[in-house]
């Protein structure tokens, strides 16, 4: 569905040349759901805009939905749905008018766009809002209208640029339900950008991590976490000092950190040491560690496993936390 080679975009601002995207190679097969994950300014949106033919690449080439984005932009656009960061519906327009306008933009016959508009409004819980002005809709409703507008041409390929940014958790979950249902219904390939880690983790089947205009990792979220990050076991133990605890940890584990236990954190007994152990498969390894401690005469009073997150992946790949950058 998508094949991009050496895709590059440089912007020049006041004599300063900014390389926003540095020669990206990416392939997306039909039916995939791929998330481009990275901090703001990483080049995700720029990549997406080149793939949708909105922005002409400085170098490189891309075939999208069977057509070259530079040579046949209109053919590419006819075959994709694009949901940008802003709201697609003109604020002064009525909901149904904008859907019909969108149908006309795609060259659909009136009977066809009327039917599709009614159909999409029903599917996306917009029924009854036909005559409302777009600006009077709630954030979630507007976003669903954006999806409806993006689907008027029944595209085989859907691009979503930061689809849930600014929505409350309930609206985000609701929007995802709809996107998933629509993907099923139209058999769409879906490509999205996000800086929400949990969203990439839970929704995407494949995550492409982008930083400073380059792809630094590309795999299923589970694989990324397994290869680039560790789960963390945290145990509270008593009956031994730090060297004894360190000695008791079996071989084959990652970094071991021992520090005094603070009972006010809730778990574990009043005295003891807190031990953090890095490992690839935390849940499987935990019983073995507890058993090894027991054999060394240590008592485990509390144990927990924190699974590796995509943020750990990003942190290990770049030395920076995506969560902090998103908050900044």
């Amino acid at each position: 569905m998508i094949r991009a080679r050496g895709l590059t975009k440089t912007f020049s601002r006041r004599k300063e040349v900014v390389e926003a995207v540095k020669g990206i190679d990416v392939d997306v097969a039909e039916g995939e759901l791929v998330a481009f994950l990275g901090p703001n300014g990483a080049g995700k949106s720029t990549t997406l805009r080149m793939l949708t033919s909105l922005l002409e690449p400085t170098a490189g080439e891309a075939q999208v939905a069977g057509y070259d984005v530079v040579a046949h932009p209109a053919q590419v656009r006819a075959r994709l749905g694009f949901i940008g960061q802003g709201n697609g519906g003109g604020f002064s327009y009525k909901v149904v008018d904008e859907l019909h306008n969108q149908g006309r933009f795609y060259g659909l016959a009136p009977a066809v766009y009327r039917e599709r508009a009614a159909d999409l409004m029903a599917a996306l819980e917009l029924s009854g809002l036909e005559k409302r002005a777009v600006q009077s809709l709630s954030g979630g409703q507007r976003r669903r209208l954006d999806v409806a507008l993006g689907l008027m041409n029944h595209p085989p390929l859907l691009f979503l640029d930061e689809p849930t940014t600014g929505l409350d958790p309930h609206s985000r979950a609701n929007l995802w339900e709809h996107i998933t249902a629509m993907r099923e219904r139209y058999g769409m390939t879906v490509v999205l950008t996000t800086h929400y880690l949990d969203e990439a983790d839970s929704m995407a089947e494949r995550v492409v991590v982008i930083d400073h205009g380059e792809i630094i990792a590309d795999a299923a979220p589970g694989v990324l976490k397994h290869e680039h990050a560790d789960d963390a076991l945290t145990l509270v133990v008593s009956g031994g000092d730090e060297p004894a605890v360190r000695a008791a940890v079996p071989d084959g584990f990652g970094e071991v950190v021992v520090f005094p236990h603070d009972p006010s954190t809730g778990s574990g007994g009043p005295d003891g040491l807190r031990v953090r152990v890095a490992t690839a498969r935390g849940a499987d390894a935990l019983p073995g560690v507890i058993e090894a401690f027991r054999l060394a005469g240590l008592t485990t009073t509390s144990a927990s496993v924190r699974q590796a997150s995509l943020d750990d992946v990003f942190l290990n790949l770049t030395g920076r936390s995506l969560r902090e950058e998103a908050a900044a």
């Binding site: 805009r49 949708t52 909105l54 006819a78 940008g84 802003g86 006309r104 933009f105 041409n153």
Partner: protein
Amino acid sequence: MSEQTRTTAPAVASTTHEAPRIVTRTGPGKFFADTGAVFTREILLVLRDPFTLIFSLLQPLIFLGLFGPLLTGTFGGGFGGPGGEGLTTGETLQWFVPGVIVMISLFGTSMTGSNLLYEIMTGSYERVLATPLDRSAILVGRALKEFAPLLVQGLLIAVVCIPFGFTFHVVPALVGLVLLGIFGIGVGAFSHALALAAKNREWLFWGVQQSLLFPLLILSGMMLPLEAGPSWMQTAAKFNPLTYMVDAERVLFAGTFDDPAVLWGVVAAAATCAVGVAVGIRSTRRTV
């Protein structure tokens, strides 16, 4: 029973799934169809909001009603303009009405970009760009929307002025309006490019639009005859395409085709349109 559901289920699925899913327009028809689609979207806003429509129709009439008598009163005795001495109300109108029509067309089309600014901010412009619409159709459709009310306004003004001695030459006047439309597409495209250049800095758009508008207006002899002004103004006016538009409109509204001013008007309109659309398309392609 189960046999039947099995046969119907895929059939239903295939009608929603399949169909000739992608429709693509091609060839020269695409430009006109796309322009029509853009124009339809833009004009819907006007049609859906009748109050704005009514006020926008009344505005030039109010202007004409207040400014016209003043002009007649001031210059009625020794008018330095085209007619020379002692103009009647009818003659003043004959001179003044085409100017007012050019003025409202310039006001309207030069604001093409202002709606665009808002749409760039909210995101709907990006959505429109992501459709297969022809880029020039986006420009032309939007400019035509600003021009369309002018046709109605122009005709209304002309009809209202008839009782005051204005002679309405229908066919030449309509040709004049079409000419203004071509000119207006160019101005609209410039305004579009300006909005793209100013994007997210609304004050910049308005600042540039306003500072260009008034010198252009005054230096075209639209409101007051330039013959009374210093020679540098008359020289400057020669480089203003609007001057040729105003001159051509005056001749056409006077019922004459056979005048070099008409030809110069055609040249000015065509040049403005060609350059404007070229600049507009260039900035549309470059700015996202």
